[in-house]
């Protein structure tokens, strides 16, 4: 692996980690989609910045991106406060209108400006690692590191304001400022993620790692660490694949990997995952079933064809429950009838105490 590839990988990794961490707070605050609106609102800014400066310099384009991104969020909060539009509708509205303006603007510029088609504005839609200059990678890495440090320093404040903003305000904290800082971190992550992951996909990189990490832990610190790890590995793999395969954009690959991590977590995480939850439910039902088998046998005496009889009186998974009762020595077959054993009586008494 070349030195350059290593640099790109660590740049993407740091970016992914930042997205995972700031996204965790956004998801817990139920503001997951804010990043998406912001990302889509950056496109007019990128186009305008290129039109004005005539340069493809990353700082210029990203400054433009940040400007209209923030404008989009401001528009969102204005619509919510001064009209009767609900939050979800306002979000969809801002997202699509700003994006539409951005697409129209960039097409216009590519036609009007000589050399415009070379602006590569389209690479901002889906992200591209190949075209990126090393200097820019370093800048992305530095900003990511800086922002991660900021989140770490404000961990306590962000935790409280995310969990219980009212209580934070009652302590005299400026929660408006904290909210602004939290959103500022999301804005930074989204904007510096644009060249690598792209407008369409970057918000998903703030959501997926956080949601996937939630399946594995009940602690905020661990959640942030895991989300950072998921984000970092997704972004790094995305960059690697995009660099290796011609014309493969980074964003979709990154999100595919992050999505895979989410699906894996949702299915296989212990206790919170779907699989272990369904196993637990089955076990509980079997436990309940076994208890009901003992109860029925003690009340009704030995039963011929117990499976059918028990099923009819509402014992769940009766066949397994009967087999289990026999295996545990709580019930036994006597001349074709299933009967309670002394051990079964004791077990029933214990269950009732």
């Amino acid at each position: 692996m070349s030195y350059n590839t290593l640099l790109v990988l660590s740049g993407a990794g740091l970016l992914g980690a930042l997205c995972g961490v700031v996204g965790s707070f956004a998801v817990l605050r139920r503001r997951a989609l804010l990043g998406d609106a912001l990302a889509h609102a950056t496109l007019p800014g990128i186009a305008l910045a290129f039109w004005i400066t005539g340069l493809k310099s990353l700082p210029a384009l990203l400054s433009g991106a940040l400007a209209t991104g923030v404008l989009g969020i401001a528009a969102l909060s204005w619509i919510r406060r001064h009209t009767r539009t609900r939050e979800d509708a306002a979000l969809g509205l801002v997202l699509s209108v700003f994006f539409g303006v951005g697409i129209a603007l960039s097409r216009h510029i590519q036609n009007a400006v000589p050399d415009g088609s070379q602006a590569g504005l389209d690479t901002y839609l889906l992200g591209k690692t190949a075209g990126i200059v090393l200097q820019d990678v370093l800048a992305v890495a530095a900003v990511s590191l800086f922002a991660l440090l900021g989140v770490l320093l404000l961990f306590k404040e962000l935790r409280l304001v995310t969990f219980d903003a009212g209580f934070a305000r009652s302590l005299g904290w400026n929660t408006g400022l904290l909210d602004l800082i939290a959103m500022g971190f999301v804005a930074i992550a989204v904007v510096i993620g644009l060249p690598m992951v792209g407008i369409v996909m970057v918000a998903a990189l703030t959501i997926l790692p956080a949601v996937a990490a939630r399946f594995w832990t009940d602690r905020l610190g661990a959640l942030l660490a895991l989300a950072a790890g998921f984000g970092a590995s997704s972004a790094a793999c995305g960059a690697l694949v995009s660099a290796a395969i011609a014309k493969m954009p980074t964003g979709p690959v990154t999100i595919l990997i992050a999505g895979g991590l989410f699906v894996f977590s949702a299915l296989f995480a212990p206790t919170r995952g779907a699989l272990s939850a369904s196993l637990r439910r089955r076990r509980e039902r079997l436990g309940l079933g076994t208890r009901l088998v003992l109860k029925e046998l003690s009340e009704r005496g030995p039963l011929a064809q117990p499976e059918t009889a028990l099923q009819a009186s509402g014992v769940p998974r009766a066949k397994r429950a009967v087999a289990r009762s026999v295996a545990l020595g709580w019930a036994a077959w006597r001349e074709g009838d299933l009967a309670l054993t002394p051990a079964g009586e004791a077990a029933l008494r214990e269950a009732r105490s």
Binding site: K156, G172, L220
Partner: protein, 263 residues
């Protein structure tokens, strides 16, 4: 105002409106130090709004506050807040200990971590509400009563002089209700004051020293004997006061005494 009972918190001319619909009108209220004060009133009377406004959590159309004898602008850690249990996401990834520790955040300062002193304070607070053994448990695994105890532990860890509590007794089991009342009395014996939004009129005389009867404006406020009268209750609740048997309009003070002597 009686000089022997210094006012701890004072509200003057408070008006709050949601969407131009007034919720509280011209509220003047004085909270004396070292008392347990109940705020009661029908649904939509503005009980929660009153304490949220006092803490500066929601904007007001008019009004001024005075705390500890000085104009009270921004909330600070001397005044504690126990929000309604439903106001937070109980699936949030924090432990009981984490929540109790949040009570100390006000004196830790930004960008600093709580130290040993704060951990000790949080542990003591959990002990006091009987939640010590659940300290490491994630908050989604708590019953309603345990959630409420956790919130109270956070308030205790804060060690405030005055507490505003929003329905701490709503939907808790009997044991938790007893524990919370004992806790409130403990606070009072240490000279602290608690203003508690309460929903159960029957227990007001037993649990509290003072009462504020609220229905968008103050109907009556003061010591139970003076303010918790059938006339005032009738005015606050209108015709909705059918469940309160012993308090007949004809015999206000006797009825209250009767309720109290049942204990």
């Amino acid at each position: 105002m009686n000089p022997s009972e210094p006012s701890l918190f004072e509200i003057r001319n408070l008006t709050v409106a949601y969407d131009r619909r007034p919720v509280l009108e011209d509220v003047d209220l004085t909270i004396p130090a070292g008392k347990l004060v109940a705020i009661v009133g029908p649904n939509g009377a503005g009980k929660s709004t009153l304490i949220k406004a006092a803490l500066g959590l929601i904007p007001r159309l008019s009004g001024a506050f005075f705390a500890f004898g000085k104009p009270f602008g921004r909330a600070d850690a001397r005044i504690g807040y126990v929000p309604q249990r439903e106001s937070v996401d109980w699936d949030f990834p924090v432990s009981v200990m984490d929540v109790a520790l949040m009570g100390t955040y006000g004196r830790v300062g930004w960008m600093r971590r709580p130290g040993k002193t704060e951990r000790l304070a949080a542990e003591h607070a959990l002990e006091a509400v009987g939640m010590r053994e659940f300290a490491r448990r994630q908050i989604s695994q708590l019953s309603g009563g345990q959630q409420q105890r956790t919130f109270l532990a956070r308030a205790l860890a804060q060690d405030a002089s005055l507490y505003f509590m929003d329905e701490p007794l709503a939907g808790v089991d009997h044991a938790t209700e007893r524990a919370i009342i004992d806790l409130l009395r403990g606070l009072r014996s240490r000279g602290r004051t608690a203003v508690v939004v309460h929903h159960d009129l029957q227990t007001v005389p037993e649990y509290f020293d003072e009462v504020v009867l609220l229905n968008k404006r103050i109907i009556a406020s003061g010591p139970i004997e003076q303010a918790f009268t059938a006339t005032a209750l009738h005015e606050a609740y209108g015709g909705k006061l059918l469940t309160l048997g012993p308090l007949a309009p004809e015999a206000p003070s006797e009825a209250v005494r009767e309720v109290r002597s049942e204990r």
